[in-house]
């Protein structure tokens, strides 16, 4: 095979001092790992080209929904003394939270296809670090989007709910909780299915009917009986009620706590499934 006359003698290697690299490292603490990985996922916040589409989306949603559906405020069952934008905006917050949750799953599947994930698996990395980092980063990005939605709602669309700024921020927190729990469900699905295409379909199939068969755009009183029955058990209706109640300054504790508890329970179920799925080679 080889055609050397005399066994090859390599040129003397350039000696480098490997100890100059530094002492051996055995892994950072779990919290540090989550923070470092979240920072990596949040690079998007530093790149305007990537952030802008995320901000255009809420603007379009608000513009279309407020213009297309504004006549719905004339329906007899619509609450008196509430402008349609004040009624609609919390629902748009929830809708964006839902979308953000689905996106968590898609972004995780991109993470899992990255070559570096194999290296992570051979490193002293806590199993939950990659997932938790995804969850944190998405929550931060979602918070920026939701805040942006509130600001343009107030500045351009005349959003001025009775609950004031505190109420609006409360509504935003409900949307964030929903995004967080839906995010864990879709991350669990990602680690189980590992197929972004099917994930996107599941996301679309769930989001669309759940949003429309709810009290997002109209009061449930105006719906046909069968749809109304569904809308009243639809978890999104409860999340929207909580967000709307807080924004309009008319929330009761059970109205807010019930959806938040549902979110927490969802995470408690989905997170272990996601971690188990992630560990699977």
């Amino acid at each position: 095979m080889s055609t050397t006359l005399i066994p090859a003698t390599a040129p003397p290697p350039a000696r480098v001092d490997l100890s100059g690299i530094g002492p051996p490292l055995h892994g950072a603490g779990a919290l540090r790992q989550v923070l470092v990985l979240s920072g990596r996922s949040l690079r998007v916040l530093r790149e305007p080209a990537l952030l802008v589409p995320n901000l255009i989306e809420p603007f379009l949603l608000l513009l279309l929904f407020s213009q297309v559906f504004r006549s719905l405020a004339q329906v007899p069952s619509f609450p008196d003394g509430v402008s349609y934008i004040d009624y609609l905006l919390p629902a748009v917050l929830i809708s964006m939270g839902m979308t953000s949750g689905v996106k968590s799953g898609l972004l995780l599947s991109t993470d899992l296809r990255n070559g570096v994930i194999t290296r992570f698996r051979t490193m002293p990395l806590w199993t939950g670090a990659v997932l938790l980092a995804r969850s944190f980063a998405d929550a931060a990005l979602n918070a920026v989007e939701l805040l942006f939605l509130l600001v343009i709602g107030a500045l351009l669309f005349g959003y001025a709910p009775a609950g004031g700024i505190a109420g609006a921020l409360g509504a935003m927190l409900v949307a964030l909780s929903l995004a967080w729990s839906v995010g864990w469900v879709f991350m669990a699905l990602t680690t189980l299915l590992r197929r972004p295409e099917s994930l996107q379909q599941i996301g679309g199939m769930l989001t669309f009917p759940l949003m429309f068969a709810s009290n997002a755009f109209v009061t449930t009183d105006g719906l046909p009986t069968w749809l109304r029955a569904f809308a009243e058990v639809n978890p999104l209706t409860h999340a929207i009620n909580a967000a709307r109640g807080l924004a309009l300054g008319a929330a009761t504790p059970s109205m807010v706590l019930w959806p938040l508890c549902m979110c927490a329970v969802t995470v408690l179920v989905a997170a272990p499934v996601a971690m188990r799925g992630f560990r699977r080679p």
Binding site: T3, L5, P11, G22, L25, Q33, V36, N114, G115, P124
Partner: protein, 311 residues
Amino acid sequence: MIEVAGLTKAFGATRALEGVSFTVPEGTVLGLIGHNGAGKTSLINILSTLLPPTSGTARVAGYDVVRQGAQVRARIGLTGQFASIDETMSGRDNLILLARLLGAGRRAAASRVAYLLEIFRLSTVANRAARTYSGGMRRRLDLAASIVGRPQVIFLDEPTTGLDPEARHDAWDLVQQLVDDGTTVLLTTQYLEEADRLAKSIVVLAAGRVLASGTPAQLKAEVGERSVTVVLGDGAVGPAALAALERANLTGTYDRARRSVTVPIHDAAMVAEVVGCMNEAGARLDGLTVVEPTLDDVYLSLKGSAATGSE
């Protein structure tokens, strides 16, 4: 430092590994040779905790790869066949991310990474996205990524496949330096030459079993020697050449069609003897090649002896 005993891995009905056992003492290199599908990558994946074994045990740096995976992961580095880096980030950011995850503080990580980029000759491209790197740069970044945390044990899965000769020499130098530094290295390769050059001991893997193991010298003795082939010039000197070799206590075989004589040799100095014999026979030389035993020779020879041994 690495102890493997009776390791078996089955993927459904396919048995990738079948009772593999060997040990690698601390601070040495073991060369694991075998063709594609021999089970090399499955073995590396089990030892680096990526895959659970079906049966058998493996200990790395004193820890069981199944029950103490976390401790194993804290002490190993892996360079697989495909670069395990984030293509969207720069070389520097890749290494900093790993250093930070391994526990280096912000400033310590920066200086550690600057040093690594320097010794891997990546400083000039450090801030470019890794996806723009050439194959050689990518491989160097991947190797640098494997030693960011100065692991005790390093697994290199075909580290020189697809590299140009210069880059291959660089990789070999690095392995040598890692060993000088006290690191234990398990290296897989398809090239006997590479294992020969770097490894104190060699394990030959075929169809998931250990076909042979030993020092390079022992294996070669089993396989057969190197040989020198000379191509003779004009003139019917073949028989004369063989006679001259015989007088020097060498045995050659003459290939009439190629006008060549092949002589097995033990060491490089014998090349001169062979050339001397050709001069003595009055033969002009048109060419000379030294042929090293190849992995194929090892396979064929070992499989042959395995077959006769079982009869």
